[in-house]
C-alpha cells in the first residue's frame, strides 16, 4: 500500500471520489439508456400531458370533476381522496387503538385477552387481504339498492354504499360556529382561572364538566336562536340509485375499515408500551402524594407515556397514509388508483407519472416527520 493511502483522511477522500464517480456513472448510464430507449421506441415524454383532457370519469371526487378536465385535475382529485381517507383512517384507528390499548392493560383477564387476541390476529394478516375481505366479502354481500337496510328512513345501507343525510347550512349558520368558538374560548379562560385558584387555595373546580356543558349548550342555543339554520337532505331512491344526502361508497368504506382496524393494532401496542414504560416508582410516588387513580393517570402516567408513545403513533399514521395506496386493488379513486393507474394507462407516460406520485408521497412524509420533530423537541424533558 503506498504511503499516502495509509493516511485516513486521504483514504476518506478517495473513497468519496470513487463513490461519487460510481454514482454519477450509474446515473449517466440510466439516463442515457432511458433517453435512448424513449427515443428509439417513439415514446412521448414531458409534462404536457398534465394539461391534456383526461376523458374518463372518476367514481367520487370532493371537488367538481368532469371527464373534460385535465390530468392535473385528476392528480388533485386523487391527492384529495388520499388525504380524506387518511384523515378518517387516522381518526378511527386512534379511537380504536386507544380503546384496545387500554383494554390490553385492563386488570380484567378476559378483556385483556380479548384485546391481545385482536392485536395478534389483525396485526399478522396482510392489510391488502383485509381490504379485499371487507370489499369482496362483507360489503359486497349487503342487499341491493331496492332491498336496502333502512335505518329510520335516514340512513340506507346497501351494496352501493352507506347513504346518509347531508347537512345543509342555511343563512345564520355562522352563529353556531361563533358559539362553538365562544365555548372554546370560555373553556380556555375557565381552565386558566381554575388552575390559578387551585394554586392559591387548593380548591378544585370541575373544569371538564363545565366545559362539556358549555360545548353542548352554547351551539345548541345558537341553533335555536338563529332559527334552525341547518337542514338535513335525506337520501331518496330515484331510478337506479339513491340521490341527495351523503354517500359513502363501498370502496371508501372497505379501505377505511381495513386501514383503521389494521393500524389500530399498532397504535394499541404503542399506547401499551408507552404506559408500561413509565417506571413503577412514578406511580408509587404519585400514590404516596395522595393522588387518586384517575389523577395519577392524568397527571403522572399519561404525560410520560405520551412522550414515549406519540412518535411511534405518528409513524403509524404515516404508514396508514402510505397503505392507503393499496386502494388500487379495489378501485377507490385515490392518488395511486387514478393518477398512477388510469392516467398512466391513458397517457402511457409511466416515468413522469410515477415520479410525480412518489414525490407527492415523499412530501407528505416530510411534512409528517416535521410534525414529529417539532413534537419531539417540544416534548423533550426540560432539564433544569
Amino acid at each position: 500500500m503506498p504511503a499516502f493511502l495509509r493516511n485516513e483522511k486521504v483514504r476518506g477522500i478517495l473513497y468519496q471520489i470513487i463513490t461519487i464517480a460510481l454514482f454519477i456513472a450509474f446515473l449517466f448510464f440510466v439516463a442515457q439508456n432511458t433517453a435512448h430507449n424513449i427515443e428509439q421506441r417513439g415514446i412521448k415524454t414531458g409534462f404536457d400531458f398534465l394539461h391534456a383532457t383526461a376523458g374518463f370519469d372518476i367514481t367520487e371526487s370532493p371537488i367538481p370533476y368532469t371527464p373534460m378536465d385535465t390530468h392535473l385535475k385528476v392528480f388533485e382529485v386523487g391527492l384529495l381522496n388520499t388525504l380524506i381517507v387518511s384523515f378518517w383512517g387516522i381518526v378511527f384507528s386512534s379511537l380504536l387503538g386507544l380503546l384496545i390499548g387500554v383494554w390490553r392493560l385492563s386488570p380484567n383477564w378476559l378483556i385483556n385477552r380479548i384485546a391481545a387476541a385482536y392485536i395478534e390476529t389483525f396485526r399478522n394478516i396482510p392489510v391488502l387481504l383485509q381490504i379485499l375481505f371487507w370489499y369482496n366479502v362483507v360489503l359486497a354481500t349487503l342487499p341491493s339498492t331496492r332491498q336496502s337496510i333502512n335505518l329510520f328512513d335516514t340512513v340506507f345501507i346497501n351494496n352501493r354504499g352507506f347513504f346518509m343525510p347531508e347537512f345543509v347550512f342555511g343563512p345564520g349558520a355562522w352563529m353556531i360556529g361563533a358559539a362553538l368558538f365562544l365555548a372554546v374560548v370560555a373553556i380556555y379562560l375557565i381552565s386558566r382561572w381554575a388552575k390559578k385558584r387551585q394554586e392559591k387555595t387548593g380548591e378544585q373546580f370541575p373544569v371538564f364538566l363545565t366545559g362539556l356543558i358549555l360545548l353542548i349548550l352554547l351551539p345548541l342555543l345558537a341553533y335555536f336562536l338563529a332559527g334552525r339554520p341547518i337542514t338535513a337532505v335525506m337520501p331518496e331512491l330515484h331510478g337506479f340509485n339513491f340521490r341527495g344526502g351523503k354517500t359513502y361508497t363501498p370502496e371508501f368504506l372497505a379501505l377505511l375499515f381495513a386501514l383503521s382496524i389494521y393500524t389500530a393494532t399498532f397504535i394499541a401496542e404503542a399506547i401499551r408500551s408507552g404506559i408500561e414504560a413509565v417506571p413503577k416508582g412514578q406511580k408509587e410516588a404519585a400514590t404516596s402524594l395522595g393522588l387518586s387513580p384517575l389523577q395519577q393517570l392524568r397527571l403522572v402516567v399519561l404525560p410520560q407515556a405520551v412522550r414515549i408513545a406519540i412518535p411511534s403513533i405518528i409513524n403509524q399514521y404515516l404508514n396508514l397514509i402510505k397503505n392507503s395506496s393499496l386502494a388500487a386493488a379495489i378501485g377507490y379513486p385515490e392518488l395511486v388508483t387514478i393518477f398512477a393507474g388510469t392516467s398512466l394507462n391513458q397517457t402511457g407516460q409511466a416515468l413522469e407519472i410515477l415520479l410525480i406520485t412518489m414525490l407527492t408521497y415523499l412530501m407528505i412524509s416530510l411534512i409528517v416527520s416535521l410534525i414529529l420533530n417539532w413534537f419531539n423537541a417540544k416534548m423533550k424533558i426540560k432539564e433544569r
Binding site: T34, N108, N124, I125, K322, L354
Partner: protein
C-alpha cells in the same frame, strides 16, 4: 408422649385456586364485573357464529361446489384447490420439485440448528442452497423440464419472494447503515437520501416503478422477467428499512466499544466487521424480525402488479365458474396461512428478545 404433627390445612379456597383466581381477575369490583360481562358478550357474538360457520355447518367432503349443501363454509373448495394455493400454475407432474425444495430447506434449517457455530460445511450448504433451489424450481438443465417463473405461484411464490427479499435486503441494508454512520459527507448524504426517499414512498409505487419503468433504465435488450423485477423492487425497498433497524442497533453500542477497537489499532472495516456490527445486529434482531414480518406481509402486494402469489390465487380460483362465491373461504384460508407464518416469526422474535435481555444483565 408423641405429638403427631398436625395435618396442614387446605389453603383457603377463596385465596388461591381457580375460584380465587376468577374472583381476583374477573370479579374484583363492580367495574370489573361489568367488564367481564362485556367480554363474555363479545366472545358470544364472535365465537359461536364463527365455529358454526367454520366447523359445525361446514362441508369437508366432496369434490365440487354441489357437495357443499350446508350453510357453513365450503372447505371442499380449499381442499380441491390446495395445489393451486400452494404452487400456483406449477405443472402438476412437476410439483415434487417445489416440495423437494421446501423439504430441503427444512432439513437445512434443522441441520443448521444441530451443528453449532460457523462450520465451513454448513456455510457451504447455505451458500449453495439458493442455487440448488433455483435450478430445481426453474429447471431447464440436468434433464429437468423448464418451468417459467410466470407459472410459479401461490405460497411457493410468496415464500420465494419473501426469502429472496430477506436474504438480499440484509447485506444492502448493512451497507446503507454503514454509509449513514460514515463520517464521509458524500457517502453519508447519499445513504441518508436513499433511505429517507424509500421510506417516504409506498411500496406499491416502487413496485410499479420496477414493473413498468425499470426496463427503460437498461440498455436495449436487457430484460428481467416480471418476478425478477418484483424482487428488485421489494429488495431495494426493504433494504432501507433494514438499514434503519441496524442504525438503531449502532446507536445502542456504547462509545467505548468504538474507542476500544480504535485503541487496538483495528482498521475501519475490521472495527465494523469484528466489533460493532456483530453487536449491533444482535441488539437489533427483534426489530429486524419485525421488518421481515412486514416484508412477508408486503409480498401480497405483488398481486397488484400481476404476479400470482397466495392471495392472488384466491382471486383467480374464486373466479372459476364452478366455484363462484368462494371468496370467504379462500380469504380465511389465506389469512390463516399468513397468520401462522407471521405469528410464529413474532413469537420467535419475542423469545430472542428475552434471551438477549438476560444476556446483557
Amino acid at each position: 408422649m408423641v405429638y403427631p404433627p398436625k395435618v396442614a390445612k387446605e389453603p383457603p379456597l377463596l385465596e388461591r385456586g381457580p375460584i380465587a383466581w376468577v374472583r381476583r381477575n374477573l370479579l374484583s369490583s363492580p367495574y370489573n364485573i361489568a367488564f367481564t360481562i362485556l367480554g363474555l358478550a363479545i366472545l358470544y357474538m364472535i365465537i359461536p357464529p364463527f365455529v358454526k360457520w367454520a366447523i359445525i355447518d361446514a362441508n369437508f367432503v366432496g369434490h365440487s361446489k354441489a357437495d357443499c349443501t350446508g350453510n357453513g363454509a365450503c372447505w371442499v373448495f380449499v381442499k380441491e384447490k390446495l395445489n393451486m394455493f400452494f404452487f400456483g400454475f406449477y405443472p402438476h407432474d412437476q410439483i415434487w420439485r417445489p416440495e423437494l425444495v421446501i423439504a430441503s430447506a427444512a432439513a437445512l434449517g434443522a441441520f443448521a440448528k444441530f451443528v453449532r457455530g460457523l462450520h465451513p460445511f454448513k456455510l457451504l450448504l447455505i451458500v449453495l442452497f439458493p442455487i440448488y433451489a433455483f435450478v430445481l424450481l426453474h429447471g431447464g438443465s440436468f434433464g429437468l423440464p423448464m418451468v417459467e417463473t410466470s407459472k410459479w405461484g401461490g405460497l411457493l411464490l410468496t415464500l420465494v419472494i419473501a426469502s429472496v427479499g430477506i436474504v438480499l435486503s440484509f447485506p444492502i441494508g448493512i451497507i446503507l447503515a454503514l454509509g449513514r454512520q460514515s463520517k464521509l459527507p458524500i457517502i453519508k448524504s447519499l445513504s441518508v437520501f436513499y433511505i429517507e426517499f424509500v421510506r417516504g414512498v409506498p411500496l406499491i409505487t416502487v413496485l410499479f416503478m420496477a414493473s413498468v419503468v425499470l426496463p427503460l433504465f437498461f440498455p436495449e435488450g436487457v430484460n428481467f422477467d416480471k418476478l425478477a423485477r418484483a424482487l428488485i423492487g421489494i429488495t431495494l425497498f426493504e433494504a432501507a428499512y433494514v438499514a434503519e433497524n441496524i442504525r438503531s442497533g449502532f446507536q445502542a453500542i456504547p462509545k467505548g466499544q468504538y474507542e476500544a477497537a480504535d485503541a487496538l489499532g483495528l482498521s475501519y472495516w475490521q472495527k465494523m466487521a469484528l466489533v460493532i456490527l456483530p453487536q449491533a445486529i444482535k441488539v437489533t434482531i427483534p426489530n429486524l424480525v419485525g421488518t421481515f414480518i412486514s416484508l412477508f406481509k408486503d409480498t401480497s402486494l405483488v398481486m397488484i402488479i400481476g404476479l400470482f402469489d397466495l392471495l392472488a390465487m384466491v382471486t383467480v380460483t374464486a373466479n372459476d365458474r364452478d366455484w363462484l362465491g368462494m371468496d370467504t373461504e379462500g380469504y380465511v384460508f389465506v389469512a390463516f396461512v399468513f397468520w401462522v407464518f407471521t405469528f410464529s416469526m413474532s413469537l420467535y422474535s419475542k423469545r430472542l428478545e428475552k434471551k438477549l435481555d438476560t444476556n446483557n444483565k
